[in-house]
Every structure is written in C-alpha cells, then in structure tokens.
Symmetry: D3
Subunit: 337 residues, 6 copies
C-alpha cells in the first residue's frame, strides 16, 4: 500500500491522575490525541508510510504536539502552523459506576479557524493512495467542515481511496446552521470504507439501530436483522465497498464486551465477542478499529474475515493502553487471530 | 431547610499509595476525614448551609485541616482551637483478598481531651434547624462522650431536629468504664433519624441482626423478617421517625453489593441493590448515606421512597471517590434514581 | 478595616514540573492564579474579610477554581457563572540562565467576554470599605476594560477607598484600539493607592524610569532623583495619597534583590534591600506587595514606614512559595520587620 | 527448625509504572527480585533464621541490593562480591488482555560468571538445617549450573535437608549443550521437597501434565488421575518425601484461580481453590508456595494438610503485593486456614 | 573497636515534598530519624558492629521502622516492643529566606512512656565497648530521663566508653520539674567525648558562647578565646578526654559554612571551614559529626587532627543527603581529608 | 548545509530522582543519551537534516530508543538492529559538594559488538555533506574502534567534511591493547573540526594543558600562552581548519564558569565567560558546543567569532536542561549573542 494521509484536529487532553476528580489535587496528565491522529499513529506503528495534516499554533505547545507525532515516524510536512491556540479538553475518567466528564475547550482553536485554501491538497496528496478523514472535523466549525470537503473532493479527483469514520459527537455541531445528518451523509458518499458504532450509523443513515446493549461474550447476534440493515445502508452508500459496524456493550466502566460486523461487497462477516474485564483506557477504540482495518485491507484485500478479525483484536487491545494512541504492533494483534 | 451543624473528630489519615503496604517506600498520602466532617462536606456540596464543630490544635496542621473544610464552604466558626495534637490513623488499603489495616493513633488528641463547657452550644445552634452527631464521638474518651451529650441535650432543648449515625467501632470504646451499648442506646433516644448497618443496629439495640452476607444484585430480601425487626427497633426508639438500615455484602475487597432499607413512620421502603465491581475507596459510605438522607428528607419530606433511592445512589457513588469525602453533586446522584 | 473586594480574571496555569521544558513528559502542574485573586488570598490569610468578583464558566473546572478561593475563606458570592471557558496559560519556568516561557490562551474566556451590566456592583459593594483592581483587566478585551471602569466608578460613587496595581503586560493590550497608557492613566485617577514597578510607572505616567538594574543588597539609592520623580507622579495623580514603587533586580533567574519606595502624603520612605539567593517562585511578588500594604495601611494608617517594611517583607517571602498565592501569615511577615 | 540457606541470582527489575508500556515516559520502577531471594525473604518474615548466597558486583548497585536483603533480616555474609554487573530484566506488566513482556539482560552478570570454588560451602552450611535451590540457577550458564551442583552435593554430604523448585524458564537454557530435562532431573534427586506447576513437572519428569486450564473456584479435580500421576513421579524421585503441584488458571490477566496438591509420603492432600479477581502482582507466587511450605513443614511436620492449606493461602496473598517479595506474616496467612 | 550501642527515640517525620508548605497538596514524605538512630546508621555504614536500643510500638508502623534500621545492618535485638504509638513530627522544610516549621507530636509515644527496668541493660551491654546517648532523651519525659541515667550508670559500671551529644532542644523539656541545664550537666559527667554546637555548650555549661555568626570560608577564628573557653569546659568535665565544638553559620537557608574545633587531652585542633552553597538537607549534621568522630577515634586514637578532619568532612557531606541518615561511606569521606 | 550523519553508542541512563542516592527508593528516571546522539538531536532542533547511525537490539527497549530519536525528526534508517542488549549506565547525580557516581554497564552491548562490514557506509553517506564522530566510540571495544575507522575512511574518501569530539573517558579504554592517545591522534587526522576540553586536548596531543581551574567570569586568559598552544596543536593536525577548546571551571557542583576558545585558520577568537550559578544538568555540554558549532559554521562559514559565540551560548544553555539533549532552538541561543 502507498502512503496514507489523515486529516483532523489533535487536542491537548487534561486529566486528573487515576480515579481523582477535577479539583482533587494540582497534578494533571497532559496528553495529545484526536481521532485522525490516532489513526495515523496506529498505521505508522503497523509499518505504513503515513502523513498527518492539521493546523497547529506556532508556539512551544504546538512544537511539542508535532514532535509527539514524529515520535511515531509520521510525516508532519503537511501540518500548517498558525492560529491562536491548540484545542484542549478536560477529561475526568470514569471510575466504578461514576461516569466520565468531558469539558470541551475547542472554540477559537487553530483548527477551528482553518479555512479552504490553507492546505495545498494537491501537493499533499501527491504519491498517496489513501485519504482518511472523519465526521468530527465537520462538527467543529463551518470553516473546518468546508475545508474537509475541499480535501475529500481533491482526494477523490486525484483517485485516492477514501475512508471515513462517522465519529458523531452530540456535544459538538453547535455552530449556526450545523446539520449533522446532512453533512455526514454527504461526506460518506466519497468513502470506500465507512466505520461507525450503532449510534453513529443511526445518525448517518437515519435508520434505527439494532441495539446490542445486553451483549455478552456468548451472545448470538440476529444476523438476519443485520443482513437487512446492511442492505439498506448499502443502498444509501452504493459506492462504498466495505462498511464496519462496531459493537460495544458497557457492562460497567471497566467491563465491556466488544465485537464488530463487516459488510464487504455483499458479504457479512462476524467475529469473536471479546469479554474485557479490566479496561485501562477505552478512548480511541474506534480509531483502533479503523486503522487496523485500513492496514489489513491493504495487506489482505481479498480476505475480509481476516481483516475483521484483525481489526477487532486491535480494538480490543486498545483498551489496555494508557492514552489515545493504540501502541500495539502487528505481531501482538495477530496473536489473537 | 435551615442551617445544619455536625460535631465530631476529624483525623489526619496516612496511607501508602495504591496497593503498597506500610513500609514499602517513603511516599504517603495524607488526607483529612472523619464521620461527621464527611457528612458536613456532602451536605455542603448538596447546597446546604452547614457548620462543623470540633476541637483542633492551634498549629499549621490544624490550619490546613480547617482550610480543607472551608474549601467546601463549611462554616468553621464553631471550631475551638486548642489541645496537643490532631488525631491520626494509619490506613493500609485492602487489595485483592488482603484485608486493610487500621492503626489508630488518637489518644491525647485535641478532640479526645475536649470537655463539657468548651463549646458555646447555644450560640452555635442559634438559627440552626438540625444537629447531626454519631456514636463514634462517645467512643473516643469519657470527656468526649460527656461533651456529646451536652451538645445533644442543648440541641434538643432548643428544638433542633437531631440525627445520629450509630457508627460503632469495636477497637475504640477502650476508656475505663466505657459502655458502648448503654451509651449508644441513650444517645439514640434524642434522634429523629438513626442510621446503622446490620452490626451497628445489633450493638445499639441488642436485637440479633438479619444477615445479608450472600446478597447479590438479584437477591430477594425477607421483608417479613425486616418488618418484625423494624417494629422491635421502633419500640426501643419511639421518638424516632425514620430509621435506615444499610446493607453491604463484601464479595471481595473491590466488589460489593449495596442497598438499604428505610422505615419511615411505620412504612418500610426498599430500593435497588447495586452491584459495584470496581470499588475505588469504600471509606465513608455510611456517611454518604446519612448526608444524602438528611438532604433528601429536607427536600422531599413526604416521599420516603425518593429519600431512600437518593441516599443509596449517593452511597453507591461514594465508592468511586478517592478519600473520605463524597465529592458528588445532586445532579450526579439524581441521574441514578 | 471593613470588607475588601477585588475584581479580575483568575486563570488556570499549566506548568511542567521542576526544570522540565514544555514537551518533556506528560505530567503537568495545574494551578489557579491571577493578580487580583492573589491579592484577595493574601488579604484573607492576613485575617481580613474579602470578596472576589469575576466571571467563571459553569462547569467542573470553574467549580474547582471557586473552591480553591473558598479554601482561603474568600467570599465568592460576587462571582458570576457563565461564558465558554476559563482563561489559561502555559508557563515554562525559568531555570539557570534560561528564560521562562509564557503562552497565553485567554481569548474567548468567560472573563474576556464579560460586559458592563453583568455584575450587580451596588449590591457587591454594600458594606464594603475598599475596592482593589488592576490595569491587567483593561488589557484583556475592550468589554473587560469597560466593565472595570463601571466597577471603579460605582465604587467611587459609593465612597469606597480604591487601590490599583498598574500591572502592565506588554503581550496583552492586543484588541482593536487598545491604548495602554491612556487607559491606565485614567484608571489610576480613581486610586488612593497605586503600586507599580519601574517599567509600569513609566508606562502609566510617561516619565522615564530611574533604573535599578545593578541594585545589590548594599546599594545606595539616589533619593534626590526619586524625590523629583515622586513629585512629578503626584502631579499626575493628585488624589492619590500613597504611591509605591517596587524595585527588583534579577541578578539571575533564582537570585534577585528586592526593595521598594513609598511616597505617602509627601513623605518618602525607604526600606531594607533583600538579597534573595534561592528563589522558589517569583510569580505574584507584586500582588504580595499590594495585599500586604492594603492590610498594613488599614492597621497602621499613620505609620507609612511600618507599612512599607511589612509590604516588602511579605513580597520577599512570596519568593519562597510554590504557586501564585502568598501563603504566609502576619506573624511570619512581622518577624522580618 | 535451624538456619535455612538459599542460593541463586537476584536481579534488578525495571518496570514502567502502572499499565504503561516500555517507551511511555521516563519514569521507571526499579526493584530487586529472584526466585531464591524471594524464598529467603518470605522465610525471614515468617520468623526463620535465613542466609542468602549469591554473587553480586562490588559497586553501589550491589550495595543497594544487599541492603534490601538485610532489610528483612537476612544473613548476607555468604554473598561474594565480584564480577561485572548485576543481572537485570525489563518487565512490562500485563494489562487487561494484553500480555506482559520480559526482556532478559542477564548475560555476563556476576552470577552468570560464578564458578565452582568461589563459595566456601562448608562454612556457609555450618550450623544449617536446610538448603533451598531452584532449577533456574542451572539455566543461566554452564558455570552457574556446575556451582549449583557443587552446593547441593556439599549440602547433601553435610546432611542438610534439601528443597527445590523446578522453576523452568523456556527462554533461558541457551548456553551450548544446555539440557534442561536431564539437568533438572538430576538436581531433583537430591531434594526432600520438590515444587512445580503443571508445565514444570512435565519438563522435569517427561510425564504429560493433567491440565487445569478451565479451573474455577468450584471445579472438581480428577483425583484418580492425580493419584496415578504422583505415583509415577514418586518412582522417578524415590528419595523425595513431599511433592507439591501448583495449580493456576489465568482466566484473565488480573483474574486467576489458584490451588495446589500435595503428595506427602504416599498421601495426597487437596485444598481450597481461591478465586482471585483483582490481582496486583502475580510475580513470585511459586516462591510464596515454597517458602510457606518450608516454614509450615518445619512447624507442623506431621500435618501435611495444614502445610498445604498454609502454603496455598500464602501464595494467594502474594497476588495482592507489589513486587517480588511476599510481604505477609504468619498471622495474616493463618487467618485464611 | 568492639560493638557500639546507641539509645534514644526514633520518630516518623512527615514532610511536604520540595518547597511546599503544610496544606499544599496531599502528598507527603514519611521518613524515620532520630539523633541516636542516625548515629547508629552512620557507624554501621562505616563498618562497625552497632546495636540500637529503643521502645517501639508492636504494630505495622513499628515493624517498618525496625526494618529500616536492619537495612543498614543494625542489631535491633535490644529494641523493646510496646506502648501506644511511635513519636512523630511534622517538618516543613525551609526555603529561600522562609524558616522551617517543626510541629512535634511526641507526647504519649512508646519511648515517652519507657521507664527504668524495661531494658535489660546488662545483657544489652555484654560484649560492647561504647555506649552513645544524647541529651534529647532526657528532654522527652521524666521517665525517659530516668531510664537514660539507668543506662548510662550501668554502662559506666561495666566499663564501657561513653559518648554524649548535648542535643539541646528548646521546645522540649516541657514536663513538670524539667531542668535542662542541671540534667545535661549531670549526664555529661559520664562522658569520655562530648559534642555540641555553640548554643548547646552554653546551655550545658552556663558559659557564654563565642559566636561565629559571620563565619566565612576564609574567616580566622579567635583561638585564644577558644583556648580559655575549652579550659573552662574541661574544669566542668574533668573526666572527659575529648570535646568537640561544631561551628555552623547559616548565611541563608541553603548556604552554610561549617567547621569544628576539637579539644583532646589539652590540645586544640582546627580544621577547614567548608563553604556549602547548595544544601539538600541539613538535618542530622550534628549526628554525622558524632558518628564520624566515634569511628575515627577508634581507628586513629592518637591522631586527633585526623579525627577532626574526618568528622567535619562527614558532617559536610551530610548536607548533600536527603533524610536524616548520613549515607556516605569511609572512602567518600576520606577523599576530603 | 547538506545532510549530516553522526555515529556512536546511545545508552539507557538510570538515575535516582533529584538528590537521592542509589538505593534510596525504587523510583528511577530512565533516559536515553550518548555523545553523538546528543549532537544529532541538537542539530535536528536547529533545523538541519540529520541521520544517526548505531547498532541497537531488536527488542522493545530498542524500539523505545529509536522512537525517541525520531521524536526530534532524526533519520534512523542507518540504525542496524541486532545484538544482545542496549548499553546502560547508572548515574547518581552530584549534589552540593558530593560527587556524582557513574557505574557503566556497557560490556556486551549491541554497539560494543558491532564490527566492520555491518553498516553500508556508502549508502548511508550518499547525499551527505558532513560526518561527525567522537573518540568515545573507539574506547568501547576493539571492534567498535575498527568500525569507527571504517566509517571515517569511507566518509573521507567520499569527500564529506569530518568533525570529531575527542571525548576521552578515563574509565573506558579497557580492552586488551587499547591505546587511547595513539588511536585518538590517528582519528583526529581525518577531522576538519576538533573539539575538546583541556584534559582531552592533553590526551590527544600529549601537550601539557593550560589549566583554567580558577576561572571566574571576570578572569583574563593568557592569550599568548594559548597562541603558542594552538600553534603546536595545528602542527599535529595540519589538515584541521578549526579547533575548539572548551573551558569549564567547576566552582561547585552547581556553579560553573564556562567559556571556549576557537582557532580558525590561524586566528584565535575568545568569547564571554558565563557564570552559571544554578546548574540543572551539565551532562552533554561538550556535545552542545559541537552541535552548535557545526550548525553555525555551516551558516556563517566566514564568521568564526559568531560561530564561537553561538556555540558557547548553546553550551551554557544546556546546563539548564534536564537530560542529555540540548532542547534549545536557534532563537533562544541567538538571544545571548
């Protein structure tokens, strides 16, 4: 597979250590993460040539952020420096039955204010084979949405394969005239591969989800229902060759079951349901699915079952890693399939 | 509801970090806590006007302790400075199947040596509607017990509603002539609301407990037996309008089930049994029950079911919080009822 | 002295631990601070009744910030909750001969967007005797400047004594039409006491400063020159009864000399020059001067020498304290005078 | 029981804190541990007189290692200082379903290069009653193996009781001509007590193991099969009076079941199967079995059931302790039997 | 030299990390230390056989304390377990020009309540050549003072050499009838070697001190005055063969000059004045002097100059060590003489 | 300037935090560093294209090491994976007047065992303009020395500019037949630029050094003596166009003066003597000189004075940075010249 490019916003995340709440103590963990950067990091660890495109302020905080990406060998030459600030958010981790808290602080960020024309997409995409983006970039601000479409149209014209994570966040999409479903639906039209969990597919397609809230490791999925479901989805996105539906049941904060379904050119694959009892950090599980699938589909394009097994094992392992990035290599993932 | 006053000893707690044992490393966590202070903090977070009364030494450690109480907006004007030392204890947390260790070091503390006449109760109670105390203050020393009765009698004369947590600790009550059952029984006579777990009610009443050691989330309680039990309790404390029985089954150190029963003017309410798999810190669960009930009974005096549901959810959430204080607000508790 | 009110922006400060640079490690120290809040904290520790007024977002981060103020017994009832975000800044501490780095991230903060009419100044100032503000609030945004003048005019009309720290920051005052000198000059007209260091007095008055860059513990100041200097300043601010000029010479990052001059109704006082060899944290030294002077001038109104000695000792001690707040009490300060 | 001597290699272990992976951050935990040192520490905590023999470099790292042993009251006079380096290994802890990583770095260590003649065994064993060693010392290097046999033969001639832990590690035994099974079989011939888990007994005897992979707390073991199995083992080691088979089923990283079987002079004892849901650190569980059995068999030589119960409870408690050493005392262990 | 015994109270010390004040954060450093234990640790590191005698409670905290002593190879068989609590103190380190704070919490400790008859002194002193004690043990409580004299008399009768550190603490000596000067004077009569700084010698002898407040590295001491001073001291303690006077000038918290004078059988020795610019921890400097002198005087009994040089270098190095114990060996000390 | 390549060993460094000694606590800092890697990192931060060549083991520790280099944008494609272990060393930092301790543990490392033929030098040097190496690589093992000469000869043949740091370490050069002076002298013959401090130049040339032990910020250097000295050096290395002599006087552990002299084609330049009072970490100061000079000489080839000023300022700033790498950029350095 040739070079892969991903595009989106990377954020500074502030979390109190361990199970502490915001306000308990002055010590914080500050980490970088963001959906498309997470995908880029995974793909780089899996051995791919990867570029990441974003807009990052020209200060010491921006420098640190960019070095963290370089650490994984990512090409950062497509990053534009400028704007006022790096987007941030406060994240109080869930503990026991207590829910997590996210306080977004992204308004006015360098990415939030990026506009069409800022990125030389033709240069960026030169020599590349795949462009990955996600719905979250369209949720930040109107100008960020416009820029995303500019990117995706250029990639499409240049013949790159396009992949997309629906990545719907209810507490974004706040700008005037924001239309999550319309925008997401339009964005997905460019994609050869779409990923989403049950709620996200519902938002992107308007089709009612088939809930798996009670899913246990030995549950049986209603494959007939899923068959009809994928058929309807396929009608909405006829140009898309692969669609993945992530399944996660949160039994408690640290105890999830995890699986996924893959529709590939008319065939549906299922895989093992993992029982994950002692979750370390579940942020970035969706990104782990996506990155592993992109990698696998490049390596084993005619073996969707293997692609699904590999992706799900990668996503399962993400739950054991501190931070957003899925720091596992191909050998570790493959030992589970 | 008007201003609430609580009275008792607040201690410095020394714990090794994480699962370390005493003697593993030189780093310690030092936190403040004590049953009645915990109740005061919860009530303050829930939006009530609260005063806390105690005796605390006039040194830098005492200053830090008092500021921690102010942090939550508690009125500390009733605190008397004096005496030799702040009571302390060493607390090695339980881990896995290994039990916790408590080494009390409270003898000779400023609170231990407080005597009747030290606190201007009439001034303190002026404009207040409720006084909360617990049996543990009578267990520290004879003079502390005498002072507790001085407080409770004054509060009673001034018409305050009195609430009490039985709070029996086997390894206190060591002073000469200490009589746990007699003292607790007498103290409870003043109370409009009494809280205790199964063992505590047994000590306070002499009635054999109805054990719930095997309680699971789907267990059915023997409500007939509890009916007879509450009837007998009611006969012992005829002036008490509400009695709560906390139910906790420790499946393992970090896995408890939790529920409670409430008798309110002849009616018994039950509530959900919570299955808490990943406990962070279970110290102060009883205090969480009490504070939430005091708050709820002031807000919904005619809805004992809601009061019980609210109290139990608050107590469940305490298990997710580091330290003694139940740092959850009304909205977070209410989301569970 | 009656109740004191201060008004300004409080910020979340992010610093790498010790001598680490931004980007070295994921561990951060997160503390709250801001000039006028620092003054409020000092005054509260010195035993005064203090209220703090600001605009703070209605989220968990805002809650933590407000509790930190309560910790010191500050009245927070004048704080208005609202707006998008708490202002923040990144602060990389200086080390050795390497300079510190400040990356401001204050645009769009809750305080930045406060406007006249948001604060019920008449209610806030009821029963108060002194209002303290600083020039930095006028540097944040036009609407913040307008609100500051609204406050200062109301305070003036209600007969409060007004004190002001010039607090000039070159890298603020960025909004359209910002005029530092004009604005500061106008603000100072309301003040009975003005504080500034040499550069700040130069900005506020346009008079060239008398530099003390080479000041050592045994230097002799040119008192004649200062006499003329204060005379000129007095002509610009004829209603001001006391003017303080802070003197600091940064021999190296951790080695400063520190002193001050006080003009009080025509008399100039000098005090000891401190030689501070091992500075822990020099943020908030100016605020320490101001708070100690306000306290001292209330206590010993006819003893300007004592007021100056007390203020300078307080400012010296601030250099030994981690964080913005000057956590020293009257006894500790007085031991130096 | 008289003085006990153990002999082996003690290593410096480098681990990232918590669930972090190697490469996440610059902070590390550095601890000492090694099978026979772990046994020595446990025996010392249980109140026995214990000596530990090894070869440790004559530098500051070696000094720290030896002091750590003294901390537990172990006689270190048999330790020979010399050689180039202390053996080390990197240990990335398992988390969730992610497996642990061990990177051995033991080549060229002071112990690796120890040779027969370096230790004055006759002096060391003077006044001692028991010598404990393990198969791992023969796996490090040929010269270390030769030295082990020198020790065990001397101990045998001097009439000491000999105990041995099979302690097979697949990724050692790398030196030229290494023969794990032959060497282990020969070493065991000297032993009065042999410990091993299922895989280790298989390596030492060549007999296929009776797997207990699905063992749950309520499983029933096939005692007939174990009867035949122990009989065959007894034929291979006719001079051995007690053989223990540790049973551990790793349901997940932090959730094991644990039990053991003991053959003692023809009788087989079984004990409780512990369900350990929240494992803190499972390193050294085998050593905990061994140390507790040596202690118990000296105290209650005619009560094999009690010895087995005591050993298994000790091993269970090890799972709750950070580091290699089983920091539990006799009272804590006895509370479980 | 034969075995050395020291006797006194060892305390748990609680300190906030770095330059933090009590009340800033919940993290604490907990270390053990006490004058005579510090001497014992130094002597053990220097290669001597050492026993330490004290009374320590029979709980987990006491166990940890005793293991810390064993860590250095100290014989702890003379320690009696019992009493209520380990003495503690809070220690806020000095920073910059801010002074340190000590909050003692020793009343009612196991050592405080020790009485004559509790320690089998004759057994303890069997085979020993030197007994070291200090004036601080007589300052804790009357019964502790009585026990000290019991020890010193027995040692004297058994012919041990006795050494004593005056160790005067103004904020102890609080018990009824306490007489610091009389008691210290009497205690010193038993000593062959006495150590004290200028203030301590003044208290013990009533002779006005020769202050060295301005001492710099190149200062010249007034040796005539010291000659007369030592002559007077010698008349008060005619049986004492060596008297050491420690000289320390605290230029600032972290910048001291350090030296000492030694009177040995009529001769006065002087040594280098060290200029110590970056002090890490100055607690235990006196104990470092004493331990090094005891060691040196055993090794080079006829070379008082070398003894003084060695002691002063050891004391200088203590300033570079975290905690009470002087973790430097003979080679490191000797490199400075 | 074109691409730069550096070659050498990178090590894992283990240090106790702060002023702690080895053996105080279980927490360690683990960082990567090594002379030539340090140069590579500095050059990359200064904006150059840099490759680093070494041999690093194919395990998780090696992966982490390589990512750390990528973090700074260094090309790691010339690194060969293989061998047994990453070289390490224990580093106890100096504190106050206590000296640092280095315990090397490099024998048998992947770099130690590298041999000629392992690196495809012709490919590596393709398109490069400068090769930097240092004398330390010849000190590790004979085979490492041979490989260094293989590299330097190839670079020379391919016309690259060669720079060399003498980098003499007394406690290396231990292999049989090692000849420091002969080897270093031969290596320097290839260099266009040589760096060394006074001791290193003495070893490399055999010429007695001109000591600057007493150098203060206002000292005057004996330029005549240096003139003769450089002339003699030039005669030994006639092909070398620039020679730098670093001057450092360690007044105390944390207080150094720092300067340098540069001989460039017959001209000698001097620069400011920096007085550095509060050193954070002085490891890598020499590497900072070298990297900054290489950068400056590429940028301002005809301005040796500016090159020297820039190099010395860079080296001065290194003293303020934690770890081996000089994390300062061109702007920060230039602010000092």
């Amino acid at each position: 597979m040739g070079k892969i490019v991903t595009y989106g916003e990377i954020l500074q995340r502030w979390s109190p250590p361990g199970a502490l709440r915001i306000g308990q103590g002055d010590e914080w963990e500050g980490q970088f993460g963001g959906s498309e950067a997470n995908v880029a990091v995974s793909l780089a660890i899996l051995g791919n040539e990867v570029g990441y495109v974003s807009r990052i302020p020209g200060n010491a905080v921006g420098d640190a952020c960019i070095r963290r990406l370089k650490y994984f060998g990512i090409d950062v030459s497509g990053i534009v420096r400028g704007g006022d600030r790096l987007g941030t958010y406060y994240f109080e981790k869930a503990a026991d039955l207590r829910k997590s808290i996210v306080v977004y602080d992204r308004n006015g960020s360098s990415f939030w204010s990026c506009t069409p024309g800022m990125f030389p997409w033709k240069d960026i995409f030169g020599g590349c084979s795949l462009f990955h983006c996600s719905g979250i970039t369209c949720a930040v601000s109107r100008q960020a949405a416009d820029t995303t479409f500019e990117a995706v149209r250029t990639a499409s014209e240049m013949g790159l394969r396009i992949t997309c994570d629906i990545n719907y966040r209810r507490n974004l999409w706040k700008y005037e005239g924001a239309d999550a479903q319309g925008t997401l639906h339009e964005l997905m039209q460019y994609s050869d591969f779409i990923f989403g969990d049950q709620d996200e597919w519902e938002v992107a397609t308007g089709l009612p989800k088939i809930s798996e809230e009670g899913m246990r490791a030995d549950s049986a999925l209603d494959m007939e229902a899923y068959g009809r479901y994928f058929e309807q989805m396929h009608r909405q996105f006829p140009g898309c060759s692969s669609m993945m539906l992530g399944l996660r049941n949160q039994i408690s904060t640290n105890h999830h079951t995890l699986s996924a379904l893959l529709w590939h050119r008319g065939t549906i694959c299922t895989t093992r349901i993992f029982d994950i009892e002692d979750i370390v950090d579940s942020v970035g599980v969706g990104d782990a699915f996506v990155a592993a699938y992109i990698h696998a589909s490049g390596k084993w394009p005619d073996d969707p079952q293997r692609c699904l097994d590999f992706s799900t094992a990668a996503a399962m392992l993400k739950n054991s890693i501190v931070g957003d990035f899925n720091l596992v290599n191909e050998e570790e993932i493959s030992s589970w399939i």
